[in-house]
């Protein structure tokens, strides 16, 4: 008689902690107004399916992302963060995303340094015309975070 093998999901950083059976990751999506948010809108209006795990907030420009936003998301509900802005050269404010990508790199490296898996925080460039790309990016991030398991580091008690 064959028995069904249920693979247990554990936190990658804390392997002794198991995810509850119906666990679904929560991903914080921080999208810039002019490209990525419009891109995600196009995904919706084109009726392209993407995982419902992402919770989107809209910001004026990717350079509005203080590393604080990412830290705060990770400290509260999120299991992962996706930050997305306009492609280099496409910024509505000309150079905002160039400033932003410097911060992204340093934030990502510091989080990894203190013990976060590097896939917990991801970044993408999605233009307003790339509805399909947005769906693919969200699918990839969700898939990655599902593999990493729930984030159990430095969480606020009641979140």
């Amino acid at each position: 008689m064959e028995t069904e093998v249920i693979e247990k999901i554990v936190s990658i950083e804390k392997p002794h902690l198991e995810a509850p059976p119906d666990w679904q990751p929560v991903i914080m999506g921080i999208l810039c107004n002019w490209c990525s948010y419009a891109g995600s809108d196009l995904t919706g209006t084109s009726r392209i399916q993407y995982p419902p795990n992402i919770r989107i907030i809209r910001i004026p420009c990717s350079s509005r992302v203080d590393p604080w936003f990412i830290i705060k998301s990770l400290q509260t509900t999120a299991d992962g963060v996706l930050v997305s802005g306009c492609h280099p050269g496409d910024c509505h404010y000309i150079s905002g995303n160039y400033y932003a990508r410097r911060r992204f790199l340093v934030t990502k490296k510091l989080l990894n340094f203190v013990g976060y898996h590097e896939d917990r925080v991801q970044f993408s460039w999605v233009s307003a015309a790339e509805g399909q790309k947005f769906a693919n990016v969200v699918a990839k991030v969700t898939e990655d975070i599902k593999k990493l398991g729930p984030l159990r580091l430095y969480k606020k008690e009641n979140s």
């Binding site: 490296k109 340094f113 203190v114």
Partner: protein, 283 residues
């Protein structure tokens, strides 16, 4: 390294010529071997001033508080302090014409154990980069090297680093002394106070420490000058330099060898950009 005599003379001269309202220097603490910062307001107090290798603090921190705002200030700066001052000038926190800067060609200060401090062993710029008057013989810029502790931690597994930092964040009591003692943290409203200042509210949790210290160190990435004023102020003796040195390393390696405050008018690494900045980690 003992410039006590020269500094007394300079301060005395500035006061008698009425060029300054206040002089920021060091004095002996009076109850142990260590020195503490002192604000001198009158000519007759000038005799308190000292300067030796025990003059560890970064005095530019006192420029951000009210008692020196819009006053004519004389102060002593070592190499690292002068880099912080350079950034404060660039970021319009102080006016150059209000300052009389006594620069030191620094030979390094000592830590609590009496050994040469780690940041001095790795110092990239011991000479004051902005000054009106220089004491000592300048020895010039030195080669950047990756911090010894960072090299060690980099070689460890993710989980080992996690265990290490969990203990660090756990031991923080959220007193915010690190932020207050950093000359480059001068915001009137600071976002880490959103986790309410916690000695009063009992929220000095590991989580709130993680939030505060990570945010704080990322706000100083590309600006921190490694004076270690923050670390000296920390009552829990946490290795705060690890966060800053890690950021410094990433900034140096990826953003055209940027070093904070070296050149007059140069801004922090996050306030400029280059077309060739790394992009491969972005989808």
């Amino acid at each position: 390294m003992d410039y006590t005599k020269q500094i007394k003379e300079i301060a005395g001269k500035l006061f008698s010529e009425e060029k300054i309202d206040v002089f920021i220097g060091y004095r002996n603490s009076g109850f142990d071997e260590n020195q503490v910062p002192v604000l001198i307001h009158h000519y007759q107090d000038v005799d308190q001033l000292v300067f030796t290798e025990k003059s560890v603090f970064n005095l530019t921190n006192y420029l951000k508080y009210e008692h020196t705002r819009n006053k004519r200030v004389g102060l002593v700066v070592k190499g690292c302090d002068s880099r912080a001052l350079n950034l404060m000038l660039t970021e319009n926190q102080v006016k150059r014409e209000n300052l009389y800067i006594v620069g030191i060609a620094c030979e390094g200060v000592v830590d609590e154990a009496g050994q040469k401090a780690q940041n001095c062993l790795e110092c990239v710029m011991p000479d004051s980069v902005v000054f009106d008057e220089m004491l000592g013989t300048p020895s010039g810029k030195r080669e950047y090297q990756v911090n010894a502790d960072i090299r060690e931690l980099d070689g460890k597994e993710l989980t080992e680093r996690l265990t290490y930092f969990e203990e660090v964040f756990e031991n923080c009591i959220r007193c915010n002394a690190c932020r207050h003692s950093c000359p480059l943290c001068y915001c009137d409203k600071c976002c880490i106070d959103q986790e309410t200042s916690t000695l009063y509210h009992g929220a000095n949790t590991t989580s709130s420490a993680f939030h505060a210290l990570m945010t704080w160190s990322l706000h100083l990435a590309g600006r921190c000058v490694d004076c270690r004023n923050c670390e000296k102020a920390c009552p829990s003796h946490l290795p705060l330099h690890l966060l800053h040195k890690q950021n410094e390393k990433v900034v140096y390696e990826n953003f055209q060898e940027h070093q904070a405050g070296m050149i007059e008018g140069d801004r922090g690494a996050f306030y400029k950009y280059s077309m060739s900045d790394p992009d491969d980690f972005i989808m």
